[in-house]
Structures are given as C-alpha cells and as structure tokens.
Symmetry: C2
Subunit: 423 residues, 2 copies
C-alpha cells in the first residue's frame, strides 16, 4: 500500500457534518494501510463571501492583499478537518501551502507552481500522521509572500503534491460521480466514463467540461500521475484519468470519449479586412497586448471582387468589452471596416482519440447536427477534437443529438464502431 | 515625528464600514508624518464563530490545529484593512505574525512571545508603506508552527512590536474612551483617567478592569513603552499609561486611581484543617498540580479548643469544579473535614499609589463599605491596593459607595486629599 493524495472540494466540506463525513473517509484510507495526504478547499461559499467583503472595501480587489485574504478560507477548513480526524483517534497535522513547500512565481491571484518541496509533509507522514494541506495557495520564491493559484487551484495543488511525493494516485473528490460522456444536466442519458486518457481529458476540459480543469490534467500528464475523480458522497468508483488503464481494469480506449459544450464565449467578427500579409497578425497582436485569451479563429475566403475578407474569433464573454475597445482604438493601424459582437453563441465539441484513424467521425458529426436542424457558424478541429459554434439556443439540442448519434447514450446497446477506413 | 503602533480591536473593524473608518484614521496618522504599524484583531465575532465551528467537529478543540484555525480571523481583517488603505491612495502591506517576526514558545493557545524580529516590517516602513500586522498570533521558535497568544493577545502583539521597533507610543483603539475610575456601566459618575502609572494600571487589570490586560501592561512597563488607550469612534484623547506623565501634560499622580470589581470568581473554603506546619502547602500543592490559578488566600485564626482552622481561597468560577475534585481526591493526604464552595461572591478593589503614604485610606475604605451596609468576607492587600470579597449582590452598590467616598465622582469638586499622616 503506497501513498495516496486525496483532494476534497468546497461542497464536500460545506459544513461541520460534511467535514466529519470526509474525516471518516480519510481515516478509512489510512486504516487500509495507505499513507494519506489530503488537500482541502475552503468550506462551501467561504471564498465568495471573502470576495464580497473585499469588494465592499475596495472596488477592484487584487494583488498581494487579496491573496492574503482568500487563503484564510483553506486555513479554516484544513484546521477543522485535522481536528475532526483527531477526534476519530488518528493523528493529523495541517499545513499551509507555504509549510507544505508549494513554491510559486510572484504573480498574485494566478500564481504558477514552480517547485514543490514537501519535506515537512514527508516527515509528518513518516511519524504516522495524516497530512492535511491547504489547497489553492503557495508562497512566492523570491518575496516569500502568500500567493493563490487561481480558479481550480486546489486540484493543481493535489496533483503537484502527488507528483512530488510520488503518490500511487491523486483522488479528486467532488459532488458528482465522475467525468461523464456529456453534461448530465443537459443529456439525461449521459454515461459515467470509467477510464479516459490524459489527451482526451485535456480536450474535454478545454472544450467546456468543468469536472477537471485543463491545468490540473496537464500537470498530471506531465508527471504521469493517475487521477481518480469520484464522489465524496458515495463509495462508488469514479473516472480514472491516466496514460494507460490502471491495473487489471480491462478498458479499451473508446473511439469517442464524450461531447462537451460551452456557452461562456462570445464571437467577434472583424469585417472588411484587406486580404494581405500581416493583417491577421495586426489584429491578434492587438488582442494579445490587451492580455485577452482567445479560443477559435476563422478567416473567411476572400471575396475576389473586393480583396477584403472577414476574420472571426471567439473569447470569454467577460473579455468581450475589452477586445472591442482594443480593436476600435487600433482601427486605423489595422485597417478594417467594422466590428460585430455576438454573445448568443454556443460551442459543441466531440472528443476522442479514435478520430485520428476514423475519418468518418467528422461526417457523422455534421450529419447529426444537420438532422437536428442545427446551423453551424464556425468549425475548428484538432487531431482528436471537432468543435462547432452554433446559436446558444441550439446547444442543448445539438449535444443530445450528437450524444445519441455516436451511441454514447446509457441505454444504447453499444457505442458506434468504426472500421479502419471509416464509413 | 517617529513611529507609532496602533492596535484596533474586533469591535472597531466589525464590518466593511468599520474597516473603512479605521483605514481613514490610519492614513491621517501617516499624513501627520508618522511611520505607522497597525496591529489588528479579527472582525467582530469571527473568533467566536470559528470556536463554534471547532466545537461542532471536536468536543474539546485545542492545540496546534485550533491555533491554525483561529489565526484565519486576523488574516481576513488585516488583508481587508490593507486593501481599504490602498483604496485611499496609500501603500499598505499586511504581515502574519510569522512574517512580522513574532517568535513564541510552543505552548499552543496561550503562547508567550520570546522574541520579536521585525526585519520585514522595518523594510516595508522604510519603503514608505503602512505595515498591517495580524494580532494574537506568532510562530513557535523550535517547530515553526503557528501559535496564538491567548486572550487579549492582540494588545500584547502591539506592545511587543512597539518595543521591538522603539515606537514613540502604542495606541490601543477600542470601543470605550479610555480607562475609567470605575466601570461606567456600574458607576454613572465614573471619570476617564487622563494618565495612570504602569503600577496602578497593573493592579486595576489584576482586579477586574477589562480595558487592558495585565500581561500587556506588564510587557509595556518592562520595555517602558507608553500606551495610549482611546476610542476608534472619536478623536478624543484617551488614557495614557506610562511610567511618567508624557511631554508637557501636567498631570499629578492621583492618590487613588480607581475602583475595580470582579464577579467572575468563586470562593472555596477548606474546613477543619489541622493547624500545623505543612497543611497550607499540601492544599496549594494539590491546587497547583491541577494547573489552577488562585487569587486571594485567607487563613482563619485557629480555634484554641480544637487545634483546627479554616483556609479560604478565591479562583475563577470556571476552575471551581476542578479544584473541588482535586481536593476531594487528596482528602486523606491533606487531612480536612469538609469543603465549602460559594460562587455568589464579588470582589471590590481600591487601587492607588498614594496608599503607601496614606494609612487613612484603608480605614476610609472600610467605613464607606460599612455605611453602605456591605458585609466584608475576606480582605487582601498589596502596597497600592486593598481588595475585599463581599456577596455578589452587594458589589455594584459597594463600588458606587467607595467611588463617591474617595471623591472620584465626575461632579465632585475634587478628589479627597490626604495629609502626610493620614486622618
């Protein structure tokens, strides 16, 4: 029996009852002979309440002090969890990010982990203790200031510790049973995925699946740490994410892993761009200078008569205003007619490693959308993903249609099987 | 203009409005040319809420994890305060006890400060910043664990930092106007004291005055740091506590500084103790082994006929059960007839350096109590204090009678003046 890292999210430790339930679960793992390191998020809505307080004293809370504030949340949950475990007769010690050796850069509010030196954790484990670590936080290498890792940071803390401690597995406990073939709130027949490869999970995470964040999966893939996403409210097996199926689990990689969707983006179209070298560069340099991340980019075929073309891209709705302002300010330099902004769009993505060798997948995807009467506005592909942009209103229907078409529904006899040459 | 340390209690920073008000006050001090270090407590009821949570997961929360939990409160208030100051256009940095160099022993929940190494604070001040420090917390020298300083710990943090930074003054901001000649809730005519010597303040604190704790005053006296206790809700001068009156303030030391009272104690009487050497030692060794602090001790004159005596002592009510149990367990070893326990007592103390040279004070004190019909059960004296134990019901009346008798009432013409030989 080796070392396991368990991570519990805010909904699992929302109140004293939740903390006691989680404590029992941790003690079980210890009794089964594991060394146990637990990463915990702030209780329930604590972080939102702290943000709310911050906004009452400062219009744009940010930087060093905001990090100092937010990290209080995990301090509370980890100390309570350690107490609850002691109360069950086992020894537990809690550690802040700094005490746990989570070393980051100095970018407050979205720091990146640059090293993990878990000497104190190792020492505590060797004494037979359960180690409880505050998620989401670290300490900056140069200034020794408290930093936070940004959204989903506790998952990253867990995976980083698992890598540094050479853990058998990083268990991510949450309020759902695992990763599904589609969002179960949209697709009632969505199935829990037993195993998924890192690459497919990365594409799902990038395409709107919210169970695991891209950054955490990327970290796990780099250090080859198996992740087991599961519910803290049941004893069921969840979803394993790893390079190969674990142990004696005979799971074949599915051709299609799942369907993800995302309605948090908007589309900007730059109309009447001269079709000459350097134009796209000028547009996206402007966007990048404004520190805006974009997702899909599509350039229309140029109209021969005018020598002008349109360039569209998608980006988070929250960044829309900033992008439009930046482009308008540089209108003369770039040279375009006008801008169109549309935040009533949705994105549907089909993800699966099998796409590489099954050219029929793309055609089936478009057919399914067409049969459902869904109009496609933009298309973007990677080796193992196809994404389309549609009207936001069409998204749920489109996801269900695609899910059914690819045999992913839970009462289907089996998933669609492609021959080596597609069909 | 030198360096000032300001300490704000939980009631001063109870909500966002309070934090903004305090931020303005701090910025004023900075604008007046001071270097400013601020020590802050947890907001309002935060600490009580955290204790409540802890009791829900663990019946007797204590030790390392309890300290980790409680220190979250000050992290929140200090980060918010730093943000609020920045919002007023001034630079502020917050520091945990550990970052501020507050080094303690390893006794969790009531650690003692053993060193203060404020290098980071000094550096921050030299850059022109306002430094905000979490009160009540430190880091243990040997294990580098987070510790808390126990009740009133933030005041001690403030005085300790003032000493380490060689501050001009340590300002303790609270929700009252200063130290009064008696508790204003009991004595409507109580007067605010403009200046009081460390020694008198120590006796008042030991006798039930709650504005400043004994430990903090003791620390200030040792390092000769003037304390200015004042309200954070007004601009009024409060009470200066120091070895000598400050600057050009022509304040003569009053003969009587004030009247303190305390109804938090109980009385234990050990009945029928053989009047022979070693008996008192046996009793108080038993109490001390149970880690109970006692206050007054009185031994009755032995009855010649029986050779037996009674010994009474007072102690915090909360410790009463423990003391009785410890004595009962050692009944045979000590040798006594029975125990009496009485928690309906109160203590009234008259404090003043002038007592040393004015023997009439004691007689006047007893006369005032007698005129008010108050019966005295125990008496204890120090060089500058007389305390009596009475029925709890008599305490308020007794305090008012003594306050009036010694001319302390705010509409008296003047305080009673004694000649050198008493009267």
């Amino acid at each position: 029996m080796g070392l396991v890292v368990q991570k519990y999210g805010g909904s699992s430790v929302a109140d004293a009852e939740g903390i006691k339930r989680v404590a029992k679960r941790i003690v079980e793992a210890k009794k089964n002979g594991h060394q146990v390191v637990v990463v915990v998020s702030a209780m329930g809505d604590t972080t939102d309440e702290l943000i709310d307080l911050a906004e009452q004293v400062s219009p744009m809370p940010a930087g060093r002090e905001f990090d100092m504030l937010l990290t209080a949340g995990e301090r509370i949950s980890m100390a309570l969890l350690a107490m609850a475990i002691k109360n069950l007769g086992h020894e537990a010690q809690s550690f802040t990010g700094s005490q746990a050796g989570v070393i980051t850069d100095s970018v407050h509010n979205k720091a990146r982990i640059i090293d993990v030196t878990p000497g104190r954790i190792r020492e505590s484990l060797d004494k037979g203790n359960i180690a409880i670590v505050a998620g989401f936080q670290g300490v900056s290498q140069d200034k020794k200031d408290i930093t936070t890792l940004g959204r989903g940071g506790s998952d990253t803390t867990a995976v980083a510790l698992a890598a540094a401690l050479d853990a058998e597995v990083c268990e991510i406990y949450t309020d759902v049973d695992g990763v599904f073939t589609a969002d179960p709130r949209v697709v009632k027949k969505a199935r829990k995925i037993d195993w998924i490869a890192f690459e497919d999970m990365l594409e799902l995470a990038a395409s709107g699946s919210k169970v695991l964040l891209h950054r955490c999966v990327e970290y796990a893939r780099r250090y080859n740490i198996p992740i087991h996403v599961r519910s803290s409210f049941s004893g069921l097996q969840g979803t394993w994410v790893s390079s190969e199926p674990i142990g004696d689990r005979k799971v074949e990689q599915a051709i299609i892993s799942g369907v993800a969707h995302d309605t948090s983006e908007a589309k900007v179209t730059v109309v009447g761009v001269p079709d000459k070298p350097g134009e796209a560069a000028a547009i996206f340099r402007t966007i990048s200078n404004a520190e805006i991340n974009i997702d899909m980019i599509v350039q229309n075929v140029s109209a021969a008569s005018t020598g002008l073309t349109d360039i569209s891209f998608t980006l988070p709705k929250a960044e829309g205003r900033k992008a439009i302002d930046a482009l308008e300010r540089n209108k003369e330099g770039i040279g375009f007619d006008s801008l169109r902004y549309d935040d009533q769009i949705g994105k549907i993505s089909l993800v699966g490693a099998g796409m590489k060798t099954n050219p029929g997948v793309t055609a089936d995807f478009f057919t399914a959308l067409s049969d459902a009467g869904v109009n496609i506005e933009l298309i973007s592909t990677s080796e193992i993903r196809i994404s389309v942009v549609t009207r936001a209103d069409d998204v749920n229907e489109a996801v269900r249609a695609v899910h059914t078409a690819f045999g992913l529904d839970s009462d289907s006899d089996e998933a669609v099987v492609y021959g080596g040459t597609g069909r």
